[in-house]
Symmetry: C2
Subunit: 481 residues, 2 copies
């Protein structure tokens, strides 16, 4: 069995059903509506997030179907009309969905996914759109922070045991790989998504044998290639590292294998890695690597490297798989327009919180790149029918401080929202995970380093087109009366 084929149609907030029923009973099942997904701030006060989770959302939408069991369950709630239950039974997905491809750097307030379709449907899919994109974008973003902190040293994702549920582990490993991790401990993520799975030994292996030396020896005999020994079960420097050295010299080197690696999973990583490095070097094992895996995240890794801890790679668990310092990606899904007699009526939500005001209308997002440096200059949110012509100068302006204007020349404009479903038909071919990883790295390299900074990064420009800005301003004035 493969998790990919699980029918999650009923993973839906109950209010999507009460509203759907309400639309149906009011004769509005053919009412067309437009929704945007966007988020309001980057986790960990970072400069950008990374889009992820689209492939799993596509799987969900492909399998949207109410089983007889579902209909029976809904009937038992004694809330819904038989007509509505029949509608659900015959449900055929018919929305248009556009989305920013996985691996793309994304920024607050821009639509990262848009939906147009019958309001019952467009509303119904809200829960899983948000769940899927929020979860994986959160982990891909966190993973990339940790990978950037490690500054070229490989990072492995080891968090399954502390993940928030099976999908948290399985898809978390996928998202972590998109963010730049080199592999995972989670075997099923390798089987189902080709995230390379790796693993060596736990403390229990060492404890099961009569001595640490014997445990290491048995392991090295069976796995002489990339042999990583866990050295902190009893005493890292007095017992673990000396026993590892002995085994590397007795078993690996005579047979022509590389002198392996040691893993330290407790104690002070800077102190122990320096002392261990010294012991290894004194034994002539200059090539033996040191792996650290004790409650790490980007903050600790940065600090360890500032202290010149001689660490070759990092295993990161709970703080990556749950994005511990900020475990929520706050993507929202808001109605932006309805159609009436074939005409689009833009909608806006005012709210008591200024930052919760939405951008009205059906939209596209353009990323403008400098032709010379290839760096991304700004994103511009336009109405869907607008085209940004990059053969002519284009003026961007701050939507709040409109006197802040800048004319852009010599640029490339690339639309970010790609068609995924049109009228319910899948029109998008998901790239392979490797392609996503490569693309993501390229796109992140096209951000100015000011945006990549961990502390107080430069706020990347996300502007509105003149036409969208005018529409929004008019609606705000109308509703504030």
């Amino acid at each position: 069995m493969n998790l990919k084929s699980v029918n999650l149609t009923m993973l839906v907030d109950f209010y999507e059903l009460t509203m759907a029923h309400g639309y149906f009973e009011n004769g509005m099942e053919d009412q067309i509506a437009y929704f945007d997904m966007f988020f309001r701030r980057v986790p960990d006060e970072g400069g950008f997030a990374i889009m992820a989770g689209l492939e799993q959302l596509i799987e969900y939408l492909k399998h949207l179907e109410f089983t007889d069991e579902d209909i029976e369950y809904l009937r038992s709630k004694q809330l819904f009309s038989e007509g509505f239950l029949t509608y659900l039974k015959n449900f055929k997905f018919a929305c248009d969905i556009y989305a920013i491809p996985e691996g793309t750097p994304i920024f607050p307030n821009e639509p990262i996914l848009t939906v147009r379709g019958p309001i019952i449907q467009a509303q119904f899919i809200e829960t899983m759109i948000l769940l899927s994109i929020n979860h994986q974008s959160l982990i891909a973003t966190k993973s990339n922070r940790i990978v950037r902190a490690a500054n070229g040293r490989p990072v492995l994702e080891l968090g399954a045991r502390r993940a928030q549920g099976a999908d948290g582990a399985i898809l978390g490993a996928r998202a972590a790989y998109i963010g730049g991790c080199k592999g995972t401990a989670c075997t099923i993520s390798d089987r189902d998504f080709n995230v390379p799975a790796l693993g060596t030994m736990a403390h229990s292996w060492v404890q099961t044998f009569d001595s640490e030396y014997e445990a290491f020896k048995k392991y090295a005999e069976l796995y002489p290639e990339n042999c990583t020994l866990l050295v902190d079960t009893y005493n890292t420097l007095k017992s673990g590292v000396p026993n590892a050295i002995k085994v590397f010299k007795e078993i690996l080197i005579p047979k022509g294998y590389k002198p392996g690696a040691i893993r330290i999973d407790s104690g002070d990583a800077a102190y122990l890695s320096k002392k261990a490095r010294k012991l290894l070097d004194e034994a002539g094992l200059h090539e033996t690597k040191i792996v650290i895996s004790n409650s790490l995240d980007e903050y600790i890794i940065k600090d360890l490297l500032i202290q010149n801890a001689p660490i070759d790679s990092f295993g990161v668990g709970e703080r990556l798989i749950t994005s511990k310092t900020e475990p929520v990606f706050g993507g929202v899904y808001k109605i932006v327009a309805v159609e009436k007699e074939g005409q689009m009526i833009p909608k806006i939500k005012i709210s008591n919180n200024i930052e919760k005001i939405t951008n009205p209308g059906s939209k596209q997002v353009y990323r403008l790149y400098d032709r010379d440096t290839q760096k991304a200059i700004a994103d511009v949110i336009t109405l869907a029918h607008e085209k940004i012509d990059d053969t002519k100068p284009y003026t961007i302006f701050d939507p709040e401080h409109t006197w802040k204007r800048k004319e852009i020349t010599n640029f490339i404009a690339r639309p970010l929202l790609a068609p995924i479903f049109l009228n319910g038909e899948l029109v998008y071919t998901s790239p392979t995970l490797e392609e996503i990883v490569t693309y993501s790295k390229e796109q992140i390299d096209m951000l100015w380093e000011e945006v990549l900074r961990f502390e107080k990064p430069h706020r990347y420009y996300v502007d509105l087109s003149e036409e969208l800005w005018t529409l929004k301003t008019e609606l705000l004035e109308k509703y504030s009366k």
Copy 2:
């Protein structure tokens, strides 16, 4: 299809497989080992946690099976012998598992689940034991904190869209219900686990109609019972509440329905609920309830109630479903003994971190209750063969400060670890979710209020029996030489 039946055998840390193969190749497949799951600290500096996730762990263990696809995948890694792959193909679960039942208050350092069995198996199941219990215990514990802060007012779980994956939402709702939430927005958790699902409307409902008044009217006509109207789409006090009052008076009251509820999802909850209450009362709608649902957790709820905000119930989303302030439950799984020639050899892990030292040997946990007050006095971890006789006085002592002793009389001793699997056979009947909820509430009521306190709760005693303490001290002395 039902998520309960998904085969998650391959949701396993890869090192469980490399070690299993190592044991197999060293002729140790019949080696018996003992493991404990325990945790080291309560999230959010709380006084206790709540055990949850056992039923899903049982489902996983019942379905442990390597498919041909799994074997083929493992063969493709070119690491494992054919003999080992055949062993996996014929894998038959044969462990003994004891666990503390779901809903029980649990405390740091005591075994909450123990395993005895062939080391390959006992090791293999580590990942899912930890994942399942860690996740649901985390959410049940957080839910209970929020429910206690709400002090009798119903709390609903609304977090699916911000959950870390589908299981995070589905099983998170289950765990939240164990912790005391009255329901969830997550429909599938109702279908599969009987967690009552509830829901009303989103802002999009209000925006889809030509006016807020019309949106409310249509909704109230369809759902006159428990009619909850979302009042903050445009302007809570100037538009939302007045329109709700109008609709309650026009639609509900003439037909004899209760005058519903209003939900406020943005702005300052204390200010808006007080002003809204005043408007409702002035309109004679004293029975209309006020529901708040904007980024809540136990800290904000406590503060709102200190300010006498007239809130009748709380909807809690992302901060519950991810346990945002502390999104990791740090349960670990450690080897505590092996058998050699039929005799148990206790094992200990020393570690560079004192708090990571383990308790050796196969164990039981007794909870001692005062016969008069019914309150829990202390937990005592004993070796498995020990019995605490509650007809005689029993002396507990602090395992670190052994001069701190106390003789307990007039008490009931209840063993907490119950048999779940014996020799691989399921011997436990999972209680219904309702039974777990009732049992959990009873057990929490048996804790002193000092342990229930949010800030700096009293540290509940978890002591070692004299025999276990002596064994541990001897092993520590042996290994520190």
